[in-house]
């Protein structure tokens, strides 16, 4: 297990470098100028030119290497060793300034928005697990019963309804009509309930189907019959013996699901006014904010590599057979 972890960690910088290079090529190829405002005034041409030079926007080669050195901590190390004459209080991993949000560095933006998206994504996965597993068990215990069909219906709705519809409907019902919770706020635990629930629906639906299939398979297995024959109560059979094995496919789905939940929350963030990082994936590209694009993608790919690693390790820990 430790060997696997070390191997995967050693691969991580290579993967991030490949991601960096591809992102750079795509972002550089975006049409338009990164320093010109889309609307309104233009500063004098001399100013625009100076800005392009300052950010190395005149030369892709220089940009690629200098940014890589700053983002990877090489520049920081050199400054600490006294090899460069630049006096700087820059952070170790310096992802540069945001071209559009002039007063913020990419580091600051990520530090303020990433924890929000991570928390929202994890909360959504938690909801998805609770809803999905309960619905899945009910379905598996009485296949093709009314309850099973009902949970299938709900799953279908969960997958098909876009979150801007569910989100807007929930906002209208709870804060506006019933006066529970608030609109547009963020910072209290209750502010997280509606967006996390909205975000969880597609995942819950999928988990419900996975659990149901797994349970139906497992419930007809020999060791379950043995357990029943020994006279174990049905509750113990289902929750202790069957669920443990039926849960494995769900657990391996959790890795990608958690990544999706943390990155794919753009619409939910908009509707519930959640100050997360999802919107910057989209907006940074639209405004060709090069530093923000590169920074967000690099941080995120690192995070995803770690998430997948954690889930894989958990899987091995719970069921050592998967290590093979």
């Amino acid at each position: 297990m430790i060997g696997l972890a070390l191997k995967r960690l050693a691969q991580a910088p290579l993967i991030v470098l490949v991601v960096y290079t591809i992102t750079f090529l795509l972002a550089w190829a975006l049409p338009g100028s990164a320093v010109i405002n889309d609307e309104g005034r233009q500063p004098p041409a001399a100013v625009l030119e100076a800005m392009e030079r300052q950010y190395n926007l005149h030369d892709p080669w220089v940009f690629y290497w200098e940014y890589l050195e700053k983002a990877s901590g090489v520049e920081y190390a050199r400054a600490r060793l006294g090899w460069t004459q630049r006096r700087s209080e820059a952070p170790v991993f310096d992802f540069g300034p945001s071209l559009r949000h002039q007063d913020w560095t990419v580091n600051e933006i990520i530090a303020s928005t990433l924890p929000v998206s991570v928390a929202l994504g994890l909360a959504a996965i938690f909801f998805a697990l609770v809803i999905g597993i309960i619905a899945g068990i009910i379905g598996a215990l009485r296949p093709n019963s009314i309850l099973d069909l009902l949970s299938l219906c709900l799953a279908l709705i969960g997958v098909s309804l876009p979150s801007f519809v569910t989100g807007a409907a929930l906002l209208l019902i709870f804060p506006v009509w019933l006066g529970w919770g608030r609109v547009g706020g963020w910072g209290q635990l209750t502010d997280m309930l509606l967006p996390a629930f909205t975000l969880s629906l597609p995942f819950a639906a999928y988990i419900a189907r996975l659990t149901r299939m797994g349970m139906i398979d497992v419930l007809s297995a020999d060791y379950i019959r043995t357990a029943r024959a020994k006279g174990a109560p049905e509750r113990t059979v289902v929750l202790r013996h069957a669920l443990k094995n039926a849960f494995l496919p769900v657990l391996s789905y959790l890795g990608p699901a958690a990544s999706f939940a943390m990155t794919g929350s753009f619409v939910v963030e908009m509707v519930f006014n959640v100050p997360g990082v999802g919107q910057h994936f989209v907006n940074a590209v639209l405004t060709k904010d090069l530093f923000l694009i590169m920074g967000v993608v690099m941080i995120y790919s690192t995070l995803l590599i770690l998430m997948n690693l954690i889930v894989d390790l958990l899987l091995i820990w719970i069921d050592p057979r998967t290590a093979v």
């Binding site: 338009g32 500063p43 506006v176």
Partner: protein
């Protein structure tokens, strides 16, 4: 089973950690919602309206506007004198103006800040606003030149010391050549390069606001490679920023909120009607509506939902009274490309003013406003919004081309485009049909609907064929700058109370002249107005210049004057100015208890 619980506990722990790290503040006197976050709080760099509004809450310049009448009121300067030739302004600063640190605000602070706005290193969008000061433009050009010479030096000649040396030489030159002087800490003398009747209006703008030198310098470094002074923007964060305006910045969280609280050092405490203000960023317009409905927000500064026409209908029926319409200091228009050819050497039919007039005459603006927009914008034939500038076109005699399909066809025929082969499409003398008219606009907005409506109008009235060309906004902007379009959507908001804030756009070679419009007669009129000392005569010349562009040469096709809808309950909130310049002083707004 225990093992299964571990991931779940991990999940909950992570969520809890994020929530606990949040510290709520007590409710503020009022909360308002805006769509976009502030881009910058650096007054020398502000450019967007929300940034300018915030700048007025945090910083105070020499003078300020009355935002109901746009008269000039005293700010840090308690009085001022203007020389008879209009060239020398002497400001007398009040001695009780203080920074939030308690230090006095002095003339030196202004000179420091204006030099900062003028140096190309700062990259201020509004640098040109300071070019009215004698020697300012020369200084800007000199330093730009010096910097590019510096970066061409061989490596070993560029160092921090060399860059600091260049900076010292620049400051020396600034002191010698730019018309600014502080004979004592509370007197500032400004010499202009030519009389500028609206100079005080400019001085009220944030570009002219003071910043706290010690604080800003702490976040400044010099780049040995380029010789440029580099500003790190950490100084605008709540823990660092030093301000001299009515409010202190207590909190500013990225794309989330900002919190203002009364500045106890501000000289004019009586002007502050609300102890504290919360600015809430709500990117989704619909969510902003729901927030307003639940009372979480007292004022929505711009209602931009798609269902605004339906809300306006409710208001007409008396079912609501929270929408407040202000005409804006801006004009929505479409640009005609005036360059002789299009990229790739294609002929540009719109290089001919006669063709531009024909298309303008064939446009039914009333239909566009009433059937497409449905938001109550006033139809406009002029570029400067009617009645928005005191003393300009006072008798409202300026009139542009309005809808007249008959005359439109005549204009097109006179320009040489007649249907010669009977297929319904006009042809030129060589028999070539009128090129397919391309309407360029940026996606994700209402421009597409207007483009569709205009295409149909032009096809019907003129027989031309059309094609709409929606492009993503960066590409649209690029095409506009390179002149790769025939007709493109545009819009312009004025900055200061003078027609030149609009008309300068039409000058040959102006940085915002996306039409490539160049008219010697117009340029000559503008130059005459620059030199004219008599204000009435100057306004008359400017009106003549505008008249030419809206009846003869038509670089743009004005459609309507923008409007802004504010949303607030008139029984619970007050102080919002309805003036077209749309500037709100956050300290003058208040909730009615």
């Amino acid at each position: 089973m225990i093992k299964l619980l571990v991931p779940i506990v991990l999940l909950l722990g992570a969520i809890g950690g994020v929530v606990i790290s949040d510290h709520p503040l007590p409710p503020s006197s009022y909360t308002f919602a805006q769509t976009t976050d502030l881009f910058t709080l650096d007054p020398q760099r502000v450019s967007y309206q929300q940034d300018i509004r915030m700048s007025f809450a945090l910083f105070e310049g020499l003078v300020r506007w009355d935002n109901e009448t746009y008269e000039i009121l005293p700010g840090v300067a308690e009085r001022w004198e203007v020389s008879d030739d209009g060239l020398v302004y002497t400001f007398h600063l009040r001695t009780d103006a203080r920074w939030s640190t308690g230090e006095p605000v002095t003339a030196r602070d202004f000179i420091y800040s204006w030099e900062r706005a003028l140096r190309p290193d700062t990259a201020a969008d509004y640098t040109q606003m300071l070019f009215h000061i004698a020697g300012a433009e020369d200084y800007f050009n000199w330093r730009s030149e010096a910097l590019s010479m510096y970066s061409a030096l061989p490596d070993f000649e560029r160092s921090i010391d060399a860059a600091l040396g260049l900076r010292a030489r620049s400051l020396e030159r600034f002191r010698r050549s730019v018309g600014l002087a502080a004979p004592d800490p509370y007197t500032l003398r400004v010499v202009l390069r030519s009389p500028t009747p609206y100079f005080l209006d400019l001085v009220a703008f944030p570009t002219y606001a003071p910043v706290h030198e010690a604080t800003v310098e702490r976040w400044t470094s010099i780049d040995p490679d380029s010789g440029r002074i580099e500003q790190r923007h950490g100084w605008t964060k709540p823990d660092h920023i030093v301000t001299n305006g009515p409010y202190l910045l207590k909190r500013w969280r990225f794309k989330r909120d900002a919190r203002l609280e009364r500045n106890p050092h501000y000289w004019n405490q009586d002007a502050i009607r609300s102890e504290s203000v919360t600015m809430l960023i709500v990117s989704d317009a619909n969510t902003a509506q729901l927030a307003f409905q639940t009372g979480a927000v007292d004022w929505v500064e711009d209602v931009i939902v798609d269902y605004l026409p339906e809300m306006l209908a409710q208001q007409d029926r008396g079912e609501r009274n929270d929408l407040h319409k202000a005409p804006a200091f801006g004009t929505y228009f479409w640009s005609f490309n005036c360059r002789p050819t299009l990229p790739g050497g294609r002929d540009n039919p719109f290089a001919d003013p006669g063709v531009r007039r024909a298309f303008a005459l064939a446009t039914n603006k009333r239909d566009i406003v009433e059937k497409v927009r449905r938001q109550g914008e006033p139809v406009s034939d002029t570029f400067v919004p009617p009645g928005s500038v005191v003393g300009y076109d006072a008798d409202r005699s300026l009139a542009g081309l309005s809808f007249d399909p008959e005359r439109a066809r005549e204009e097109l025929e006179r320009a040489g485009w007649v249907d010669r082969n009977g297929d319904g499409v006009p042809d030129n003398e060589a028999g070539a049909p009128f090129p397919v008219v391309e309407l360029l606009y940026s996606t994700n907005s209402y421009h597409g609907e207007i483009a569709q409506a205009m295409s149909v109008m032009w096809e019907k009235a003129l027989g031309v064929r059309t094609r709409v060309v929606p492009k993503e906004s960066k590409i649209y902007k690029d095409d506009l700058k390179t002149g790769d379009y025939m007709i493109a959507r545009g819009g312009w908001f004025g900055d200061y109370g003078d027609p030149t804030t609009f008309l300068n756009v039409h000058r040959t070679g102006d940085g915002n002249n996306d039409r490539g419009y160049s008219d010697p007669v117009f340029d000559e009129l503008m130059a005459r107005s620059d030199a004219e000392l008599d204000p009435d005569e100057r306004m008359r010349i400017l009106a003549e210049a505008e008249k030419r562009t809206i009846t003869e040469t038509m670089p743009i096709l004005p459609l309507y004057t923008y409007v802004r809808y504010y949303q607030f309950d008139p029984e619970r909130f007050r102080g919002v100015s309805m003036h077209p310049r749309l500037m709100q002083y956050l300290y003058e707004l208040e909730r009615i208890e």
